[in-house]
């Protein structure tokens, strides 16, 4: 194991309650707090732990997005990534385009392992890791809650609907991570200072030969249907009565 690549997406912070624009043209993003996608942060933490257990392993953080995504890559460098690449674009990057872009970087960098979040909490698409693995013609292990690396293989425990499943994949491979894989470290101030000196290279989709054209057209954006306000009952007897009245008991 020489190199681990981690894909990082800049997303609206998970604490922000996103609101739809009144004209239905999208969601309001002006001035909202932006962060590293929480699942990608877990992916980076896992890469750092693998690096710390081994010797001579480089961790490369890669993002695709607006110029300000450098902030999220600086966070990744402060956490412990060795260097970073930003593929700068103002376009909305769909999962297939993201996968093609990461593939172009992958072919230059030849990582032994790619780690990323199972989904981004903005588009909730849950596609990029699987698509990247496919285009790279390599295995995928999605929804990882445990990763063990040995002898050019990864044994991955996956969170699936029925419980936990374990698969073994040959490296190189793509692993997408779930919530309970680890708890990402806090960044300390000296690390933020050190991160400023680490290399962060800029490139773009044209240079990588990837088209940024939209594959799907978003026609409009609506707020979700609101539930009707309910009733507050004062005790368990009333609760049982209310359930009976609805035919639920």
């Amino acid at each position: 194991m020489k190199k681990i690549m981690v894909c990082i997406k800049r997303v609206v912070d998970y604490t922000v309650r996103v609101r739809v624009k009144p004209d239905g043209s999208g969601v309001m993003l002006d001035g909202v707090k932006m962060s590293v996608n929480p699942f990608d942060e877990i992916a980076l933490e896992e890469a750092l732990r693998i690096k710390e257990r081994g010797t001579g392993i480089e961790v490369l953080a890669v993002s695709i997005g607006v110029a300000d995504a450098q902030q999220q890559l600086r966070t990744a460098l402060a956490m412990g990534a060795d260097r970073a690449i930003l593929v700068q674009t103002d376009a909305v990057v769909e999962p297939l385009t993201a996968a093609r872009t990461f593939l172009a970087i992958t072919k230059k960098e030849n990582p032994d392992l790619i780690l990323l979040g199972k989904q981004a909490i903005d588009d909730d698409a849950n596609q990029t890791g699987q698509m990247l693995a496919t285009l790279w013609e390599r295995p995928q292990a999605t929804y990882a809650s445990k990763v063990e690396i040995a002898d050019s293989k990864a044994t991955v425990t996956r969170e699936v609907d029925a419980g936990l499943e374990t698969i073994e994949v040959d490296l190189p491979a793509v692993i997408t991570v779930d919530l309970r894989l680890n708890e990402p470290r806090y960044v300390k101030l000296p690390d933020i200072m050190k991160a400023k000196k680490k290399p962060l290279d800029m490139t773009n989709l044209d240079a990588l030969g990837v088209s940024s054209g939209a594959l799907l057209k978003t026609v409009k954006t609506d707020p979700p249907a609101q539930r009707q306000k309910g009733v507050i009952v004062k005790d368990v007897n009333e609760l049982v009565e209310a359930l009976k009245k609805k035919g639920l008991l």
């Binding site: 996968a99 909730d124 698509m131 040959d170 779930d178 609506d222 979700p224 539930r227 009733v231 507050i232």
Partner: protein
């Protein structure tokens, strides 16, 4: 006419109800013809269940030893071969479908629409983003195959009573050997399945321990309910991961959902929005769960839950 292929999900014995929900979604496409593909080591039983779903024209059985476990890297090339004759390929938004479908899309070099919640046209759908805080209407290019996952909580299961044909199929596809199944560990299975149960009781961090979750299991047994949990409860180790309900866990649509000691973070609410009736029991009257609850009770769960169980037992 639109030819729609649905990837059937099953455990070798039973067809997952998510497949019947995909059928209902597919029926929303006018002038559609529905085929289900089932892959496995021996799909005799699940193929006949699939053929019995109302509205299904045919079932394609792809039986081979390599299909004994649903590995996305092994299934995808076979499904790409099968998909040649179809305009749409749907899979469920379950861990099975979410793992598999993007692999099919990428092999075909086409985008995927995730989590269809409504069909507005053969290539026009509504889907949630930002944990359900916004719903977008997306239009896909009719000139390419439409690959999608279906948000199962948004659709009723198709009824039985169908009489589709069953055809065994040989697929020539090179299958990778770089991915191998090792084993699985699942939680208790004698309770109703969380994703399909009509009644669900979920516990949050306020339960305080795995031991205290027994209170919920006991009540659930009286009600024939499945038991779920908030992310906080799972993270704290009070409940198993497969019990998590929410944005990154299971999205469910039971008849009644009883949230016990769950404050109601937006990420949790996104998993229960489609429940017919939401009941909230929480000692904090200001908890956001009360904003979506149809019936709320402000009180100490350690008193309320046993009392509720007693009253229900009395009938």
């Amino acid at each position: 006419m639109h030819k729609i292929l649905i990837v059937g999900e099953h455990d070798g014995k039973t067809l997952n109800q998510a497949t019947a929900k995909c059928v209902t979604c597919a029926k929303g496409i006018a002038d559609g013809e529905i085929t289900i593909a089932v892959l496995g080591a021996d799909t005799t039983a699940v193929a006949s269940q699939a053929a019995g779903l109302s509205g299904v024209k045919s079932v394609l059985r792809i039986d081979r030893p390599e299909n004994a476990h649903p590995l996305a890297a092994v299934f995808a090339p076979q499904l790409v071969a099968v998909a040649a004759d179809f305009s749409h390929v749907f899979g469920p938004s379950t861990s099975f479908g979410k793992d598999l479908m993007p692999r099919i899309a990428a092999l075909l070099g086409v985008p995927q629409v995730s989590d269809l919640m409504a069909v507005e046209g053969p290539f026009k759908f509504r889907r949630p983003i930002f944990a359900g805080n916004a719903i977008i209407t997306v239009e896909a290019d009719p000139a390419v195959k439409l690959i999608a996952t279906v948000r199962v909580a948004s659709f009723e299961a198709a009824a039985s009573g169908g009489n589709g044909s069953i055809q065994p199929m040989q697929v020539s596809a090179v299958l990778p050997t770089h991915t191998r199944y090792v084993g699985a560990k699942s939680g208790s299975t004698d309770r109703p399945d969380l994703q399909t149960a009509a009644r669900v009781i979920s516990g949050g961090r306020a339960l305080g321990s795995a031991e205290n979750f027994k209170l919920l299991f006991s009540l659930a047994d009286k009600l024939g309910a499945a038991v779920g949990a908030s992310r906080a409860a799972v993270d704290a180790g009070y409940a198993a991961n497969e019990m998590q309900v929410g944005q990154t866990g299971k999205i469910i649509s039971p008849e009644v959902y009883i949230a016990v000691g769950i404050s109601g973070a937006i990420q949790h609410l996104t998993g229960i929005k489609d429940a017919r009736t939401i009941v909230a029991i929480n000692k904090d009257a200001e908890a956001p769960i009360f904003e979506v609850a149809d019936i709320g009770l402000v009180g100490d769960l350690f008193q309320v839950v046993p009392e509720l169980e007693k009253l229900i037992a009395k009938g």
